[in-house]
Point group: C2
Chain length 491, copies 2
């Protein structure tokens, strides 16, 4: 793998695109804005899915599947939802093609026009709440704790692999509750699940908070979010969890008989993360040598490469390599032995380094003699010679160590890149030099937030939960404020 | 669960619909032809997916993801494919909605018309082979063994839950090979994987064979299939695997440099099974008391129900029940303890019977005294009292036994319902009385097959692989034939 790609300093944006494409994670397709997720990228997504699905089930959720299409009229039922979602979307208007009269290809059959257009789901609150109406009669039917793994489509003008694509994969949880308190608890619980996943599996430290009204999900009463900081000092929203109040229950007439035998509207939440997480994963840890993957999400955790000249040497090394593989697999570690003779060891070293494999073992004739193996870790690029005794336990500890090191490295980066700003000059100066999270006072009005955005492209990423109360002055208007909020330029 | 649903004898079709809806597997949605897969149904589908995915990976396949949308022009590139697939499909023509001028809801924005319409994928050969063109340069890039789990849409006029829906979930394998031989081996290998899954996990015996040209996949050189027989004597195609020759490689210009340094077209296969399998599962084993699920695919394999009058009794039973649960879970058996006080034991017995839970344990104060438990098996409805000693091993064996019994029962049904027909009268008589698989001679022409279909609604389900060669006369035309083929009316 030649290093024919940009460095982060040269062009961070280009570095990201090069990495995603050249490391075989994803590529653009023939369909504008839609990506192909390649096998290596998809294998990471499968690990993300498996772990999240486990965490959802451990917190009492079950999976289900709802239609891809939503009748156009459904979007008009929740007033603010239609503004946010029914605009840039894929619209199905016909259900048949026919042979072109000129004999060249096919054309849309004008006789097969749908009475009501169907929208390819940009998110599923409307179709799901239309369904829940028939599932819910009394408090005994509640709560409903459902999640869906699905593809969704939002027609984006400017797209970037994983970060912003017209079609993307995600999960969307949609829960229904008898009380406001229970629904808020659910929305907060799922925020914590997302944060736990981001930090313990993706090795990405995240801030938790709520969105300002400007940045709230269309149809939500409160939007909780986790925000991560990328290496270029820009923020990335990594997951959101919404308390929807009774908005969708009212729009779709979903009522239940309470324990007190009163007819009440149902309380709702929804929460989701998407293949966008793949972008966050790449941007958080990777370097100018290529991908760096946290061991817990790496499709290949360990690669073994034989160094040999003769067939006899290869045979002897292979025997030992298979012993090591068996021991590692017994510990649940995924390991690949690359004994292809079509590529030289140096090429393979570069290849696996570029693909972010956390640990590389190299073994030559001298290692065999000495009972050793050369161990290279991807995160620090350090090499060491390990004795083969208890190699499985040593590698297991090394993987844990790499996982932890990636998190700590990202955490200290974020800490270095989080600043207090107490004046408008200071605020702009930080944005124009280092970027990062800026903790600053804000007067609480959407107008001020909007003006700051227009002048600096920075937005309020979140209002910290249980943030410290302190007297201060809004950096933009000077009006009084009781709490700092977190600003940043964002993806 | 009141038994307010049709019996199989009264109305087989109604029985099926009632079962699917009342057992909470799926329901119709607000969108014509699209279903909602409910949590209990989806839990079964997750088990199907997990097992198939494991088998695909064990045979060297990896997963990837390709776009939902396909440019209209792609369908015109493979001549027979366009006939088969580009007709009844969902067509996206616009990418934006806007507020209606009358202020009531939203309308399609006429300014946001796509230059080229997009088709919601009915199957992905075209978009995938368009992608493979860039992945394949030399024989070193082959084989490509990729599978995709996805939703697809075929606009069906008459739909039935799981069996025929406009949107359905499936997997589609798409492989690329350097030689014809290797591609044929792959298509046959996946047929055997499907058959193994159907028989060992779904407990459904299947016939293996190839389709006649009339029933072949649009674009295939050969279509392999597995066919199952439902309780009403109708056949159901449960999976297909296609050898596509070089058809798609030629249509999308996918060539590679061979070992001999010659430019050649790539050989292809595709293979798929869908949520239709859920319909086969329901129809193969269930009875007039409700669902019957094979243990290997049952979301809940064992349910434990306490029988008690006092709180003290419940406490004592619960303690023992939790011991049993722990022992069963340690063996990987999924078990539910239903101690809800809102329902009586008799109601619960009916509920789990209706939902097809393979084994039900009931435990009352007398059982506690005697160290016993009442064990009911869903397949035969037999009840027995088991000693609690080694209950985990006993239940494990019982589940194996139920799995095997369901397969044997379905197999003997199929054997009873498979007939030789040597005359046209005999052929029609079988169809009008019992139905079932009919093994008969056919003159090998599409015209005869078509006429038989028009007169009887029976089609050739398959031509057996390695079928016995015998001289015979076509039941319809009397022309000579060398091998019997399998006819049936089909779903």
């Amino acid at each position: 793998m030649a290093k024919d790609f940009a460095t982060r300093d040269e062009n961070y944006s280009q570095w990201y695109n090069d990495l995603v494409i050249k490391a075989d994670l994803a590529e653009n397709s023939a369909v504008r804005g839609c990506m192909v997720i390649k096998p290596y990228g998809y294998a990471i997504w499968e690990k993300v899915q498996a772990q999240l699905d486990k965490m959802f089930k451990e917190t009492g959720h079950v999976n289900a599947y709802f239609p891809l299409f939503i009748p156009k009229s459904f979007f008009s039922k929740e007033a603010s939802h239609v503004e946010g979602f029914a605009k840039e979307c894929a619209v199905v208007t016909h259900y048949r093609l026919k042979n072109s009269p000129d004999g060249k290809g096919v054309i849309v059959d004008p006789d097969a026009k749908l009475e009501e257009e169907l929208i390819v789901r940009p998110t599923s609150e409307t179709i799901i709440w239309d369904t829940y109406r028939n599932w819910i009669r009394s408090y005994r039917d509640l709560p409903i704790l459902v999640n869906q793994w699905a593809n969704v489509v939002r027609w984006e003008m400017r797209t970037r692999l994983f970060l912003r694509t017209a079609e993307f994969l995600w999960q969307e949880g949609h829960t229904a509750h008898a009380t406001e308190k229970e629904a808020i608890e659910e929305a907060e619980k799922m925020l914590h699940v997302y944060a736990e996943f981001a930090e313990s599996f993706m090795a990405i430290p995240v801030l938790k908070g709520v969105k300002s009204p400007n940045e709230r999900f269309a149809g939500a009463v409160e939007t909780y979010c986790i925000e991560a900081l990328m290496q270029d000092g820009k923020a990335l929203q990594a997951g959101t969890s919404h308390f929807l109040g009774q908005n969708f229950a009212k729009a779709f007439e979903v009522q239940f008989l309470s324990r007190e035998n009163k007819l009440e509207y149902v309380w709702a939440t929804s929460w989701g993360v998407s293949t966008r997480l793949m972008g966050a994963l790449v941007m958080s840890h990777s370097d100018d040598n290529g991908l760096v993957l946290p061991p817990k999400l790496a499709p290949i955790q360990v690669v073994i490469i034989p160094i040999y000249k003769t067939d006899e040497q290869l045979a002897a090394i292979s025997e030992k390599a298979h012993e090591i593989m068996a021991a590692l697999k017994a510990k649940g570690i995924s390991v690949k032995y690359d004994d292809r003779d079509t590529y030289k060891p140096g090429w393979k070293f570069n290849e696996y380094e570029f693909k972010g494999v956390p640990v590389r073992l190299a073994m030559g004739p001298r290692d065999l003699e000495n009972g050793t193996v050369e161990v290279a870790r991807r995160d620090t690029l350090e090499k060491n010679v390990f004795q083969l005794q208890d190699i499985d336990t040593k590698i297991e500890h090394l993987l844990d160590n790499i996982q932890e090191n990636l998190f700590q490295k990202a955490l200290s980066f974020r800490e270095r890149m989080t600043f207090n700003a107490d004046s408008w000059e200071e605020f702009k100066n930080i944005l124009d030099t280092t970027g990062g999270f800026i903790s600053a006072h804000w007067d609480g009005t959407p107008e001020t937030e909007q003006k700051i955005k227009e002048e600096t492209k920075a937005t309020i990423r979140l209002i910290p939960i249980n943030g410290k109360q302190e007297e201060g002055k809004c950096i933009y208007t000077g009006k009084p404020s009781q709490q700092r909020v977190i600003f940043a330029r964002a993806y």
